[in-house]
C-alpha cells in the first residue's frame, strides 16, 4: 500500500467538508478524483500532505503514518518529503528562475550539492519540454509552461506519490492539452498519482481508478470503464450528465442547483 487514509474528517468552522473518508491506494495507481465544487476533493488532497490537516483520522504514505489529531512538526515534514504537489495556480517561486524553482527542493530538502541539483533539474525540465526556458522567471512564461515547471519541481524530488490539485483548471483552453500530455507521460512511468480534475476524457484515458466524491464522502469508485460509463449511484449519474453537457462550465457545477429553488425576489431600494 502506498497511500492509506483512515476516517479523515475535516471541517472549516461549522462547515463539515470531509465526513470520514477511507482510501487505500496501491503503488503505481493513478487515481482520479471527480466531484462537484464543494465536494471536498481538493481538501482531501490537501489533508494528505497536511497543508490542511484533518481534524480526525490518519494519513499513511509508504511506511510513514501520521495522526491528524496529534502530530508533530517532524512527522508532518516526513510526510511532505514523501509527497509532492502540483497546484492549480502553479505557485512557482516568483523570485527564482524556472531552473532554480526545480533545484530549490533538491538543495534545501535533499541536500544535494548545487552542481548535481542543477544537472538533475535540467534533465527534468527537458523532460517536460522546457529546455529552452531554464533561466526565465515564472512571470515570463505561459500558464502551460509554468504548470509544466511546477510538475518538474514536484517530480524531481522523486516522491512516493504526486498530488495534482486541478492542474489544468486555471489554464487557457488551448494550453490544457500540453499539460495533460505531460501528466500522462509521467503516469506511464509508474509513479503513484492522485489527480483532482474535471477532465473526464483525461480520467478515461489515464486513470486506473476513478473516485466520485460528493458532500465530503466517497460516493463511488472503480475503474474508469465502470464509473464513467455505467455509474451505479444516481448522484454520479447526475454529475456525469451535467459535466458532459456542452453548455455547462465544468468548473462551476453546483449539484445543489438541481433542487428546484424559489426565484429570489430582488428588493427595490
Amino acid at each position: 500500500m502506498m497511500v492509506s487514509l483512515k476516517n479523515i474528517k475535516k471541517s472549516f468552522g461549522s462547515q463539515q467538508v470531509l465526513n470520514g473518508v477511507d482510501l487505500d491506494i496501491d503503488v503505481g495507481e493513478v487515481v482520479v478524483i471527480l466531484g462537484p465544487s464543494g465536494s471536498g476533493k481538493t481538501t482531501l488532497l490537501r489533508t494528505i500532505n497536511f497543508l490542511d490537516p484533518g481534524d480526525e483520522g490518519s494519513v499513511t504514505v509508504g511506511e510513514h503514518t501520521v495522526n491528524c489529531k496529534k502530530h508533530t512538526r517532524p512527522e508532518v515534514l516526513g510526510l511532505r518529503r514523501r509527497t509532492a504537489m502540483v497546484f492549480q495556480n502553479y505557485n512557482l517561486f516568483a523570485n527564482k528562475t524556472i531552473l532554480e524553482n526545480v533545484m530549490e527542493g533538491l538543495i534545501t530538502v535533499k541536500r544535494r550539492p548545487k552542481p548535481v541539483a542543477e544537472e538533475i533539474s535540467r534533465k527534468m525540465l527537458t523532460r517536460v519540454g522546457l529546455s529552452e526556458r531554464f533561466d526565465y522567471y515564472p512571470s515570463a512564461l505561459s500558464g502551460g509552461q509554468q504548470q509544466r515547471a511546477g510538475i518538474a519541481r514536484a517530480l524531481v524530488l522523486e516522491p512516493d506519490v504526486i498530488l495534482f490539485d486541478e492542474p489544468t483548471s486555471a489554464l487557457d483552453p488551448e494550453l490544457v492539452g500540453e499539460v495533460l500530455q505531460t501528466i500522462k507521460g509521467i503516469a506511464e512511468t509508474g509513479i503513484t498519482m492522485i489527480v483532482v480534475t474535471h477532465e473526464i476524457a483525461f480520467a478515461k484515458e489515464v486513470a486506473s481508478r476513478v473516485i466520485y466524491m460528493q458532500d465530503g464522502v466517497i460516493v463511488e469508485q472503480g475503474p474508469p470503464s465502470e464509473i464513467l460509463v455505467h455509474p451505479q449511484d444516481p448522484r454520479t449519474q447526475r454529475f456525469l450528465r451535467r459535466i458532459t453537457d456542452p453548455n455547462q462550465d465544468p468548473k462551476h457545477i453546483d449539484m445543489k442547483q438541481d433542487d428546484p429553488q424559489p426565484e429570489q425576489v430582488v428588493e427595490a431600494g
Binding site: 500532505n49 497543508l51 512538526r73 515534514l77 511532505r80 518529503r81 509527497t83 509532492a84 504537489m85 497546484f87 495556480n89 505557485n91 512557482l92 517561486f93 516568483a94 523570485n95 530549490e104 527542493g105 534545501t108 530538502v109 522567471y137 512571470s139 511546477g150 519541481r153 514536484a154 524530488l157 498530488l163
Partner: protein, 230 residues
C-alpha cells in the same frame, strides 16, 4: 540693516555639515533599532495568538498617533521623573541615546506596518508550495517569502528612512548637536544676523540628502527586482 546675503548660505553649509556624523549616528542607530522593534511587532501582528495581535495593534496605533516631539518630551522629561521615584537614576544617559530611543520607537510603528503588509503581499500559494516540497516553515520563510517581501518593501522602506532622516532634526529640541542643532548654534554665534541664510543652508542640505536617498531607493528597487516582475 538686516540684508540678505546669499554668500552666507555657502559659508554656513560646511559649518552645518560638521554635525553630519552626529545626524548619521542618530539616523543609522534609530534605523537599526526601529527595524528590530518593528520586526517584533510585525511578527506579533501576524501571529495566530489574539493577545499578541491586540498588543501589536495598540502599540502601532499609539506610536503612529503621537507626534514625535511629544514622545521626545515624554521620554526625556517624563521618564526620568517616573523612574526616579522607583529608585532608578537616568542622569547618566546621554542626550543622543534619548533621541535614538524616541526616534526608534516612533518609526518602529511604520516599520512594523511595512513588514506586515509586505509579508501579506507575497502570494500564500508560494508558501504552500515551499512546504509541499518539504521545506520547514523557517526555510520557506527565508528562501521564498522574505526575499520577495524585501523587494515589495523597498519603496516603503525608502520613504520611512527619509522620514526618519528629517525627524533627526528634532534632536536639537533637547540640545543634541545634530545638523539642525549646529545650524542654531551657528546662527546664535553671530546673534542671529544671518539666521535666514543659515536655515536656508540647513534646508538645502536636508533636501539634497533626501534627493539622494530617493534616487538610491529607486536604484535598489530596480536592482533587487530585476527580471522578476511581470
Amino acid at each position: 540693516m538686516n540684508t540678505f546675503q546669499p554668500i552666507e548660505i555657502l559659508r554656513a553649509i560646511p559649518k552645518i555639515l560638521q554635525a553630519f556624523p552626529m545626524t548619521m549616528l542618530i539616523l543609522l542607530s534609530s534605523l537599526l533599532f526601529s527595524l528590530l522593534i518593528g520586526a517584533a511587532f510585525a511578527m506579533m501582528s501576524l501571529s495566530h495568538k489574539k493577545v499578541l495581535n491586540v498588543i501589536s495593534k495598540g502599540y502601532v496605533s499609539f506610536m503612529r498617533g503621537i507626534p514625535t516631539l511629544i514622545l521626545i518630551f515624554l521620554i526625556y522629561l517624563g521618564l526620568p521623573q517616573v523612574l526616579k521615584r522607583i529608585g532608578i537614576d537616568m542622569s547618566g544617559v546621554s542626550l543622543t541615546a534619548y533621541i535614538i530611543a524616541c526616534l526608534s520607537l516612533s518609526v518602529s510603528a511604520n516599520m512594523s506596518e511595512m513588514m506586515r503588509s509586505a509579508y501579506l503581499a507575497v502570494d500564500k500559494g508560494q508558501r504552500e508550495a515551499a512546504l509541499s516540497v518539504g521545506m520547514s516553515p523557517a526555510v520557506a520563510f527565508f528562501r521564498v517569502i522574505l526575499p520577495q517581501a524585501v523587494g515589495i518593501a523597498i519603496p516603503t522602506l525608502g520613504n520611512n528612512i527619509i522620514m526618519l532622516f528629517k525627524e533627526t532634526s528634532l534632536a536639537f529640541t533637547i540640545g543634541v548637536l545634530d545638523m539642525m542643532g549646529k545650524a542654531r548654534a551657528v546662527s546664535s554665534a553671530n546673534y542671529g544676523a544671518t539666521k535666514l541664510e543659515i536655515y536656508i543652508a540647513a534646508g538645502l542640505i536636508f533636501w539634497a540628502f533626501c534627493f539622494l536617498m530617493e534616487k538610491g531607493t529607486r536604484l535598489a528597487e530596480k536592482a533587487y527586482t530585476k527580471g522578476r516582475r511581470t
